[in-house]
């Protein structure tokens, strides 16, 4: 029997899009299309096993070797800095990590900047590179509300279309880094399952080329 290639996919629309790409690349697992609440799907004949996991947990599954490969957003990779290979930019799930503030915000350099964010590590690293003194306020959701209520001066968050910001009278001050989905691999798994991983990468590159 073929050794199984374990793949962690992010639950949700992005994961479904990624699975469609993997399917086209020859790594199909028809059971995944069935409507049920199962989280693990296997196609022994094709040597693949897929798991649906929370998007922010994909990198953890891959780093710990439970999944050999997975797809995670660049935001998660920058925030948690997992020790994994970042093999490909899949060019989907595109957005940007940005600093946003109230439309009339003035950045007073003499004042310690209060930054509300879910991405503390990214915010800390960004402002350290700017030599700026900041206080981080770690929030778990509804980040946009923080500057409106005076909890923070700015926020560091993912911006897709900018609609939520506009509706809350906020504006992007600066883009920190563009974000997209990345194919990641466990460093040990990459060595012991090199053949299927290399095959998947080749097929995916072809697909990405065709879509350009």
């Amino acid at each position: 029997m073929k050794p199984m290639l374990n793949i962690a996919l992010p639950k949700g629309r992005l994961g479904e899009k990624v699975y469609a790409m993997f399917e086209k690349a020859g790594f199909d697992c028809p059971a995944i299309r069935e409507t049920n609440r199962k989280l693990i799907f296997e196609n022994a004949e094709n040597g693949v096993r897929y798991f649906w996991v929370k998007p922010s947990d994909v990198a953890i599954y891959v780093e710990h070797g439970v999944a050999d490969i997975g797809v995670a957003g660049k935001d998660i990779l920058l925030e948690y800095e997992p020790d994994v290979y970042e093999l490909m930019d899949l060019d989907i799930g595109k957005c940007r990590m940005a600093v946003a503030a109230k439309e009339d915000f003035y950045d007073d350099p003499e004042h310690t900047l209060r930054v509300a964010t879910k991405f503390s590590n990214i915010a800390r690293n960004y402002y350290r590179s700017q030599g700026r003194d900041i206080d981080i306020i770690h929030l778990n959701g509804s980040i946009e509300i923080a500057p409106i209520l005076g909890l923070s001066d700015v926020i560091v968050d993912i911006v897709e279309t900018g609609t939520t910001l506009r509706e809350n009278k906020l504006a992007v001050v600066e883009t920190i880094v563009p974000i997209s989905a990345r194919l990641i691999a466990n460093k040990s798994g990459f060595r012991f399952k090199n053949e299927p991983i290399t095959k998947l990468m080749e097929q995916m590159s072809k697909l990405l080329e065709e879509e350009k």
């Binding site: 093999l87 460093k187 040990s188 798994g189 060595r191």
Partner: protein, 374 residues
């Protein structure tokens, strides 16, 4: 009865086997004290895997550290003698911050250092011991070897800042070609060099497939003698009996301030992180004012713990007895079971939460089985 199989955990067994392997190659056991002066580590903190160190003030007022590393202690005591090489192995507990828990952990580490007039043979010997160490741990293993001098020569031929070089090395270590090409473009690296760096980062395979590609890729970008020296070393390694597990992988990178030449990492199937890591660190020796060159590696025994078979119960057998039975008879019945290789615990009543393979009762000189739920 095989004592090792029943009593020793996998990582303990491996630790003994590795010590005997290194001793056979003439490496002497380096035993160090629990503490070192903090000063020893402070100047080269980046060389350490984690830069957090547990410190305390000794009775004489000196700032001491619980050792986070063994290499520095070995280097401190090494003396240069032209033409000779000092060989040490160690098996020590070190204290580091674990990446998973962000808390200090005591970690058992085994490894070896080869210090002095290092020649091709010494490098071959150290790589052979690294390969044999991996084979001691598992039949399914891989030793991946990289050559930093290629990367250094390409980067040094272009004017790049240290930050730019480190960012590129990080991308190489992640096999992150999309960001690496972006960085090269932003730093004004010419197409040939950018392509060489990207191809080196993506390259992974057996030496016989990778070596021919390298010549084509690197000619004109690195010195001919650098290319020849790597090829020569690889040819020696390919003739070794263990060459089946050898792979070339230039994503194995290390800190530019300390390492040079050959660097390597070892992996075994089923363990998600590298279990062995090492390389040549002549740059560290130079920084520390030593004339000698050096190469060594460490085996991270803590990463092997997950391969230990978990115990399913407290003992194979619980032998129950009532007060007043013949002590001699009970002892003999228990000994007979132990001679069969079973672990036996004597109890009058079963302790709460305890688990046993089977429960037996000793009564009237006889041993009888008891129903598990009785």
């Amino acid at each position: 009865m095989n004592i090792q199989d029943t009593i020793f955990k996998n990582d303990e067994k491996i630790s003994y086997l590795l010590r005997s392997l290194y001793a056979r190659y003439g490496y002497s056991h380096f035993k160090m004290s629990q503490f070192e002066e903090y000063d020893l580590y402070v100047r080269n903190k980046d060389f350490l895997i984690s830069d957090s160190i547990i410190t305390f003030t000794d009775t004489n007022g000196k700032l001491m550290a619980l050792k986070p590393d063994v290499t520095f202690s070995i280097l401190k005591n090494s003396k240069y003698a032209p033409g000779s090489v000092q060989r040490y192995y160690y098996n020590e507990n070190v204290y580091r911050v674990s990446k998973d828990t962000q808390a200090f952990k005591e970690i058992m580490q085994t490894g070896l250092e080869c210090i002095g007039d290092i020649d091709r043979y010494s490098i071959f010997e150290v790589l052979t011991l690294a390969a044999k160490s991996l084979q001691t741990i598992s039949d399914s293993c891989v030793l991946t070897v990289s050559y930093l001098d290629f990367i250094y020569e390409i980067m040094d031929s272009i004017s790049l800042s240290t930050d730019e070089k480190n960012a590129m090395l990080k991308c190489m270590g992640e096999k992150n070609l999309h960001e690496l090409s972006k960085l090269c473009a932003e730093s004004g690296v010419d197409a040939a060099r950018a392509d060489a760096l990207c191809q080196l980062a993506s390259c992974y395979g057996k030496p016989e497939t990778v070596l021919p590609r390298l010549k084509k890729l690197l000619t004109g970008l690195v010195k001919e003698e650098t290319l020849a020296s790597f090829k020569n070393l690889m040819e020696i390694l390919m003739s070794a009996r263990w060459s089946e597990i050898l792979r070339i992988d230039f994503s194995v990178v290390s800190d530019m301030k300390y390492y040079n030449g050959i660097v390597f990492k070892g992996f075994v199937e089923g363990v998600p992180v590298s279990v062995l890591s090492g390389g040549q660190y002549d740059r560290l020796m130079e920084k520390m004012g030593h004339k000698s060159r050096a190469i060594g590696f460490a085996v991270y025994l803590d990463s092997l713990r997950r391969q230990n078979m978990p115990k399913n119960y407290d003992a194979d057998v619980a032998l129950l007895y009532n007060e007043g039975v013949s002590a001699d008879g009970l002892h003999r019945a228990a000994e007979a079971l132990r001679e069969e290789g079973l672990t036996v615990q004597l109890q009058r009543t079963l302790p709460p939460k305890a688990k046993y393979g089977k429960i037996l009762q000793f009564q009237d000189g006889e041993v009888t089985a008891v129903e598990a739920d009785a």
